[in-house]
């Protein structure tokens, strides 16, 4: 296996730069302490030894990160998609505004059904509340919201200033719950908690588990019921997954959280199985539901044709029903027959092209499957807000150091429910499934699936992204909106995997077809011919396909007093 990242210079001569060398180049611009810290988050992969990634550590101030905040992870990601509860942001206007339909978690409410997603309710705090407290205003806002909408449930999200001035959002929620007689609960998801939006996911999981899951014990009439955890229906992914499973005879009770209703979540604990898509954002829920209700969970991936087939087989096998297994095979065969010719045609054009992915807490892993389907090679990947277990697998969990930031977030103590705990599989059944290759409650992480020498970059910064492009020139980069336009300025197509660039779905078989064709179009569209990328113009970059150091552009004349500072390796800190 090659251990270097291969690249071609414009003359077509292949050359390669070891991952270590790229890392060195990236770190050069940083002051020593910053370089040391970032150095732990950039490494050369080894799928056998799985080196330690300094993941889920604080971003160094002044480093251009893609990460968001706790509020974004809680309100924006995990709970936001529940479309028939009313979400109220308690804080100044910005936070509410920015989480107002900015994620593409699509909904398709039944005719006449409630959908509050188009609303952005904010207490719009002003100086007066910052000084004298905002609880009164919050209470009024909840009362008004109830009077106008009569929702089933109201949720409250605390923003940075709320935590600081000490508004007790939970007390307000309890009081209003009693007054109104509907479910009202709050989330202490102030932006400064935790190191990224990941903290918000955890807080959201806790709240959903405490205040929603288990409220409705009506059993399902479907024989094979599952919950799809960590699937957010971006671009309609969940609909594709639902459809293909339904075709096999498997019913999804609740998708957490994508196009999902309050009632679905309240009865999710009646399902026979939890499957986990995004391990990072929802593994807490899977574990808590297993402890309390005895629902087993395992990891699936519906991104990529082969991965989808594998996940479907796994679910069918879990139910140990021969008819279901046979029907699942039929569906897979049917879908693959449609997909294969398209995949092969795209593969012929894309084979050998290089891709880098920096996104999310699971997508950087999942989407490698789609690129693998069409013969493309992943030269570098990293998550924005994942933890070590998402890189190295859950085997690291027992030895994971709990730092101050993680300790901040409540870890719920969950015990088996005295009445409703019902282990779906006996120990014996579990063992026999495990012997046939089943892995319950596990995730092996991204790195084990990547080749030796691929570059792992956690929480990539703008500067590192630019260096990566300069040195490796990937054919396509998957990232988010915050670096999309920098990447495309340099002549490299960028696929946003947070929002899907207004496209999608990409999950399941039909989604995979969609993705292959889109990547094909992105790579081969003629517009790139008009872009002269830096390495084609700069003769030094062309002549030396190894490390090219860019000289500073000649500076414009300007008054003496406004000279740039010299790039210093020891500034501040």
């Amino acid at each position: 296996m090659p251990t270097d990242i291969e690249m071609k210079n414009p003359d077509g001569i292949a050359s390669s730069i070891p991952a270590e060398k790229i890392k060195e180049e990236m770190l050069k611009a940083y002051p020593a302490k910053t370089a040391k810290k970032r150095g732990k988050q950039i490494l050369s992969n080894d799928p056998d030894t799985l080196p330690e990634v300094g993941a889920n550590s604080r971003t160094v101030p002044g480093i251009m990160t893609q990460r968001g905040c706790t509020y974004a992870g809680c309100r924006g990601v995990v709970i936001g998609p529940i479309h028939d509860i009313l979400h109220i942001t308690h804080g100044p206007i910005g936070c509410g505004y920015y989480s107002w339909m900015t994620r593409r978690n699509l909904v398709r409410p039944e005719p006449g059904a409630t959908n509050y997603l188009q609303y952005c309710m904010s207490t719009d705090m002003t100086e007066e509340q910052i000084v004298f407290g905002g609880e009164k205003k919050l209470k009024q806002a909840i009362q008004e919201a109830y009077d106008i909408f009569k929702p089933k449930a109201i949720t409250i999200y605390a923003t940075c200033p709320v935590g600081l001035i000490g508004d007790d959002v939970h007390a307000v929620a309890r009081e209003m719950k009693e007054t109104l007689g509907i479910n009202v609960f709050a989330f202490s998801c102030e932006g400064y908690k935790g190191v990224s939006q990941s903290a918000g996911h955890h807080i959201a999981n806790n709240g959903v588990f405490k205040h929603m899951v288990g409220l409705d014990n009506t059993p399902s009439e479907h024989p094979f019921t599952i919950n799809m955890l960590g699937e957010y229906n971006i671009g309609g992914d969940a609909w594709e997954i639902d459809a293909v499973l339904k075709n096999c005879g498997i019913h999804v009770t609740a998708t957490l959280s994508g196009d999902v209703k309050y009632d679905d979540i309240c009865r999710a604990h009646n399902s026979a199985l939890n499957v986990v898509m995004c391990h990072r954002s929802i593994n807490y829920m899977a574990e808590m539901m297993e402890k309390k209700f005895g629902i087993p969970w395992f990891k699936v991936n519906f991104i990529g044709a082969d991965a989808t087939a594998k996940s479907m087989r796994k679910i069918a096998k879990y139910f140990e029903n021969p008819a279901l297994i046979a029907r699942t095979e039929e569906v897979i065969a049917m879908e693959m027959a449609k997909l294969r010719p398209i995949r092969d045609a795209v593969k012929a054009r894309c084979q050998g092209k290089k891709v880098a992915l920096f996104v999310g807490g699971s997508r950087a892993h999942h989407y490698q499957e789609l690129f693998r389907d069409i013969g493309m090679e992943v030269i570098s990947a990293g998550y924005e807000f994942a933890h070590r277990d998402d890189y190295e697998g859950r085997r690291v969990l027992p030895n994971l150091k709990v730092d101050a930031d993680s300790r901040n977030i409540e870890e719920l103590t969950v015990e088996a429910d005295p009445e409703r705990f019902n282990p779906r599989k006996t120990e014996e059944m579990r063992r026999s499934l495990e012997e046939s290759g089943f892995c319950f409650s596990d995730y092996t992480g991204m790195m084990a699936d990547m080749r030796k020498g691929a570059l792992i970059i956690d929480d990539i910064s703008h500067h590192e992204m630019e260096k990566l492009i300069e040195l490796t020139k990937p054919d396509i980069i998957c990232s988010g909106i915050k670096d999309k336009f920098i990447i495309e300025k340099m002549g490299i197509p960028c696929k946003q995997l947070h929002s899907y660039d207004y496209g999608g779905p990409y999950a399941s078989f039909s989604g995979a077809i969609n993705f292959y064709q889109e990547v094909d179009r992105m790579l081969h569209t003629k517009i790139w011919k008009f872009v002269v990328p830096p390495w084609q113009k700069d003769p030094r970059l062309k002549a030396r396909p190894t490390i090219a150091q860019k000289e500073k552009a000649p500076k414009k004349e300007e008054p003496q007093s406004f000279k740039r500072p010299a790039a210093s390796g020891q500034a501040g800190e």
């Binding site: 002044g62 905040c69 008009f530």
Partner: protein, 459 residues
């Protein structure tokens, strides 16, 4: 503290406690955009990283351009013990990576709530800074619980001028403080000044930094922006032209230059439509002693001609205008020139005396037109039920309203994130009015055509 007048107004209006679908954005967003319009400036938010991330993604989805905003990445302990250490480390890191000409520092709710003493931290930073010749840092206080993105924008321009402007020998040059307008607007203003042969400094000028070309060389910072030495020179310009009727009586950049350096200030409304643009042209004519150049004269002539051509399609149509107060003022002025009836002018900002400003800019606005500040989109929707508009003119956030009413939405201002080219929408000057007019008439014609059961193709 609220003035008596404000308290009176408060009593009159029955607002909901909660803001439902806000018609305003947060203060530091305006600051970040204004800082981005200075050459070599990197915006830096003192607070939690989420603010920088949200603001970046929002500006990017409108401009579709890279937008870096650094942050001091507060965590729980910085929220308790202060973020001085983080801020200093962040400034050093940004300086080393980007080699900026200056750093634009704006605060967030978090830093302001805990009462960070930013000037003191900056002094300590400078005193102990290992980097000689460190870039200047301009700081501005912008908690989101005070004001809106427009306040953040204006206060940042004011802070830049306050930090850099120096007195000197009077120059031929004028200063233009355009306010929060589009990149195309900025380019057009520069073109107008070129036509007049008048050297002008626009502050800020993000026409290139937020609407640039593809890169044929690696760039740490996008090129363009107002050069810092020109901001230094603002203390000695012959006059300042400041757009935004809402700036009257406020401590703005123009007011500061007038007070500090005796630079004559001309406060004008945003030059949208014929009369507001005429007023701008008159100022330029006085400044240069020249008549309006032929190209601009022709633009005005063509605009008047177009208004005549199109009047039969638009006369008496009812429009809801919503957005930033000054933009809405300009639009109201323009629409009432065209024969369109602005039934409601709305802004989410708190602007005491706004109605008076609107009526000054649009003297022919019918008395029954409602002009209302501090509205959110839910309230605008409620009023729309009664007002039955034919068209909505506002940002992308007006889409829900337009869709509900079954009328077209003309996208103007910020944010435009459901169409391409928001940064290239031209609002200002005769040319801007021309484009707004064509778009508006065509939208009404298209609606008529679509609604027709026959499908006439000759309208």
């Amino acid at each position: 503290m609220n003035t008596v007048l404000e308290q009176e107004e408060e009593k009159e209006m029955k607002h909901c406690t909660a803001t439902r679908n806000a018609c305003k954005l947060c203060t530091p967003l305006g600051a970040c955009l204004a800082f981005r319009g200075v050459e070599g400036c990197i915006p830096f938010l003192h607070g939690s990283q989420g603010c920088a991330t949200y603001i970046r993604r929002y500006l990017i989805s409108h401009f579709r351009e890279p937008m870096d905003v650094a942050s001091s990445n507060f965590h729980e302990e910085s929220a308790i013990f202060g973020g001085g250490k983080n801020l200093k480390a962040g400034l050093a890191n940004v300086s080393a990576q980007y080699e900026p000409e200056m750093i634009g520092l704006a605060t967030t709710c978090l830093a302001e709530t805990i009462g960070e003493n930013v000037p003191l931290i900056l002094k300590e930073y400078r005193d102990n800074c290992a980097v000689e010749d460190a870039p200047p840092i301009v700081s501005v206080s912008t908690p989101s619980y005070r004001g809106t993105h427009m306040d953040g924008f204006h206060e940042t321009v004011r802070a830049l001028v306050g930090h850099f402007a120096e007195s000197g020998r009077r120059q031929e040059r004028v200063a233009i403080f355009p306010g929060m307008v589009s990149a195309e607007d900025l380019r057009h203003l520069k073109e107008i000044c070129r036509e007049f042969g008048l050297p002008a400094t626009l502050l800020p000028d993000y026409s290139e930094t937020m609407d640039g070309e593809t890169w044929d060389s690696y760039q740490k910072m996008p090129s363009g922006g107002t050069p810092i030495h020109e901001i230094v020179g603002l203390g000695s310009v012959r006059m300042s032209i400041e757009f935004g009727r809402s700036l009257v009586g406020r401590d703005s950049a123009g007011a500061f230059l007038e007070k500090q350096f005796q630079v004559p200030r001309r406060l004008l409304g945003l030059p949208i439509g014929i009369r507001e643009t005429d007023r701008f042209m008159e100022v330029l004519e006085t400044a240069t002693g020249r008549c309006k150049p032929a190209a601009l004269r022709q633009q005005r002539g063509r605009l008047v001609d177009a208004l005549i051509d199109g009047h039969k399609y638009v006369f008496g149509k009812r429009a809801i205008v919503c957005g930033d107060a000054d933009l809405a003022t300009g639009l109201a002025a323009f629409l009432s020139e065209t024969g369109i009836f602005p039934v409601l002018c709305a802004t989410g900002e708190r602007r005491v005396g706004w109605e008076k400003q609107v009526r000054e800019a649009a003297p022919d606005l019918p008395p029954e037109s409602q002009v209302c500040d501090r509205l959110d989109f839910a309230e605008i929707e409620e009023r729309a039920e009664e007002l039955k508009p034919d068209i909505v003119i506002g940002s992308s956030k007006g889409y829900r309203l337009a869709r509900k009413m079954g009328v077209p939405l003309i996208r103007v201002g910020f944010p435009i994130h459901d169409r391409i080219g928001g940064q290239r929408v031209l609002h200002l000057g005769y040319a801007g009015a021309q484009q707004l007019y064509d778009r508006t008439v065509n939208a009404l014609m298209e609606k008529k055509q679509t609604d027709s059961t026959v499908g006439y193709s000759y309208l």
